[in-house]
């Protein structure tokens, strides 16, 4: 038999007094539906992610609210930070995620109503943001309450749960500060201007002079070149009143300078085989250190999981 001290809590005992699964399911689905209506009212163009410093203020207020709330011992707070609400909000996020994993997430060839309800951009839409916020509320409350009652004994729980909270919160709130822009480098020319997906222009704090761009190919068949093996851009970083610096940018080896990361994404695939220019993507994500902090907390938690299996203490059947 199973040796366990946990009290018997059947899933079926739903509406019995204490707020539980049914209430959580109702709250989460209601919030998601409301989010869909907002999305529809704005013709599928509702969400503009806030940028610095608004997003930081929102995040600070959200965190303060969670800390304040976690100090209460009320039934409602226990429910909001409890397992039923966790499962309901995870199910909500999962359901929307499944929609986004099936429906093509592109604006092309998509019927109007799909766009209006935000179904062609699930992950940038209001319903998903709402579901994620509910999940963050639950996760934050659960963690704060656990730490408050157990202190340092909750380290294992904290690694995983704080880690996930930090990753999701900083990725969500920081989304508005991410800049992804492109620039085309041509051999023998210098460039500092970048253009983002909406067509806005900007300048990097430095310029790049492309010395040489080259592609190595696998041996092909019938005289045609094979698949690309490696492509690399040899360039010089130009700065005002400073020495030139020779750099190389390759796939999987981006260049990091002054808060920008430059990726070699593609090159001119003209049939003539002329490859004297390449496409660079310049990315700025000031929230990345926060995301990475969360990722490394979670990685620590995952390693710790291998050595602490809570199901191990139960006797085998």
């Amino acid at each position: 038999m199973i040796a366990t001290t946990a009290p018997r809590r059947p899933l079926s005992a739903v509406w019995s007094g204490e707020p539980g699964y049914a209430h959580a399911a109702l709250a989460v689905s209601g919030a998601i539906l409301a989010g869909m209506l907002v999305e529809f009212a704005h013709r599928g163009d509702a969400l503009v992610p806030p940028s610095w410093p608004t997003n930081a203020v929102f995040l600070g207020l959200f965190l303060a609210w969670l800390i304040l709330l976690s100090r209460s011992d009320g039934r409602l707070v226990a429910w909001l930070g409890g397992i039923p609400f966790a499962l309901a909000s995870m199910f909500g996020v999962g359901l929307l995620g499944a929609l986004g994993g099936i429906i093509p997430q592109t604006q092309e060839q998509t019927p109007g109503w799909v766009q209006f309800f935000g179904l062609s951009h699930i992950f940038n839409g209001v319903p998903f943001a709402v579901a994620m916020l509910l999940l963050l509320t639950n996760l934050g409350l659960a963690t704060l309450r656990k730490v408050r009652s157990l202190g340092m004994k909750a380290w294992f729980f904290s690694l995983n749960h704080i880690g996930l909270w930090v990753v999701v919160a900083s990725a969500m709130f920081g989304a508005g500060d991410i800049i992804r822009a492109r620039m085309i480098l041509v051999e023998g020319q210098a460039e500092a201007m970048v253009v983002d997906a909406t067509g806005r222009h900007g300048y990097l704090p430095f310029g790049l002079f492309l010395q040489r761009f080259y592609v190595e190919q696998y041996p092909g068949e019938g005289g045609r070149p094979g698949a690309p093996k490696r492509f690399a851009a040899e360039a010089t970083v130009l700065r005002h009143n400073q020495k030139f610096e020779d750099v190389r940018i390759e796939v999987n080896r981006p260049l990091r300078r002054d808060g920008w990361t430059l990726y070699l994404t593609n090159y001119d695939l003209s049939p003539t085989g002329q490859t004297d220019q390449c496409l660079i993507e310049a990315v700025r994500d000031p929230w990345l250190p926060a995301v990475y902090t969360g990722i490394f907390l979670m990685l620590g938690g995952a390693v710790a999981m291998l050595f602490r299996n809570p199901f191990d203490s139960r006797l085998p059947p």
Partner: protein
């Protein structure tokens, strides 16, 4: 290379079959386990030969991940069997591995030596190995759930433990993937269809352990949940290639 695969696959299958037969006799347990492990070692040797022959890690195509899975699942099953003193995972693990080797026999792939620049990264091997390890543990839990339904045997304890370990590896795989994506594609998470399904797989097993820790007595529900969860895992691994959303994916390396 393909004849070599047939030889190794048949030899490994014979080892597993012989090992299981010896295990059944009950007084040759040691020899049975040794023979079973020899089957795993044979496949590992083949994978290394393939690695050398291709000049790149054999982890790019679906067929190559199936080979890695057929190698790691029996290894994981053997570990579970020894650790928790139950025999059925070894039999189920071997049966599943033979099915996957069989698929590779029926659908042989042209051995393509190319490795696109995005995959040339130190993250490639750890990311894939940790993922297939996770898949081995998680599908082992699904096999346990299947046994629960077929035989009425209470396998849930072993399933829970396997899911816990599988989820740990799945978390690592997911995060390695995110760190790698940042280096290769410029962002750690873009909700590419493969990423979305990887997230869904992670979320459903995360949900499972929360349900199990909270409701240790809801057994039939848990077993049904495990079978539903493995369907999502399968979608992430294979099914994604057939979904309409995937026409925009940057993550499918299966079609050369």
């Amino acid at each position: 290379m393909n004849e070599q695969f047939v030889t190794f696959a048949i030899a490994a299958t014979a080892c597993w079959l012989g090992g299981m037969l010896l295990l059944r006799t009950n007084h040759r347990r040691g020899a049975g386990i040794a023979l079973y492990v020899a089957g795993v070692a044979l496949l590992a040797a083949y994978a290394l030969l393939l690695w050398r022959g291709l000049g790149r890690p054999p982890m790019r195509t679906l067929g190559e991940t199936r080979l890695l899975y057929a190698l790691l699942l029996p290894a994981v099953a053997c570990g579970i069997s020894l650790r928790w003193r139950i025999d059925w995972p070894m039999a189920y693990g071997a049966a599943m591995a033979v099915v996957f080797l069989g698929i590779n026999l029926v659908r042989p792939e042209a051995f393509d030596k190319t490795l696109m620049p995005a995959l040339q990264s130190p993250w490639f091997v750890p990311h894939v190995v940790v993922y297939i390890l996770a898949y081995a543990f998680l599908t082992a839990s699904a096999l346990g759930a299947l046994r629960f339904f077929l035989r009425g045997e209470d396998t849930l304890c072993a399933c829970d433990r396997a899911v816990w370990i599988g989820l740990a590896f799945l978390t690592m795989g997911l995060l390695f993937g995110a760190l790698w994506a940042k280096e290769a594609w410029g962002h750690y998470w873009t909700w590419d269809p493969k990423e979305t399904w990887a997230f869904l797989t992670w979320a459903i097993y995360l949900g499972y352990i929360h349900i199990r820790l909270r409701h240790p007595h809801t057994r039939r529900f848990a077993v049904g949940f495990l079978l539903a969860a493995v369907a999502i895992l399968g979608t992430c691994w294979f099914g994604v290639n057939y979904l309409p959303s995937t026409r925009t994916s940057v993550h499918t390396y299966t079609q050369p």
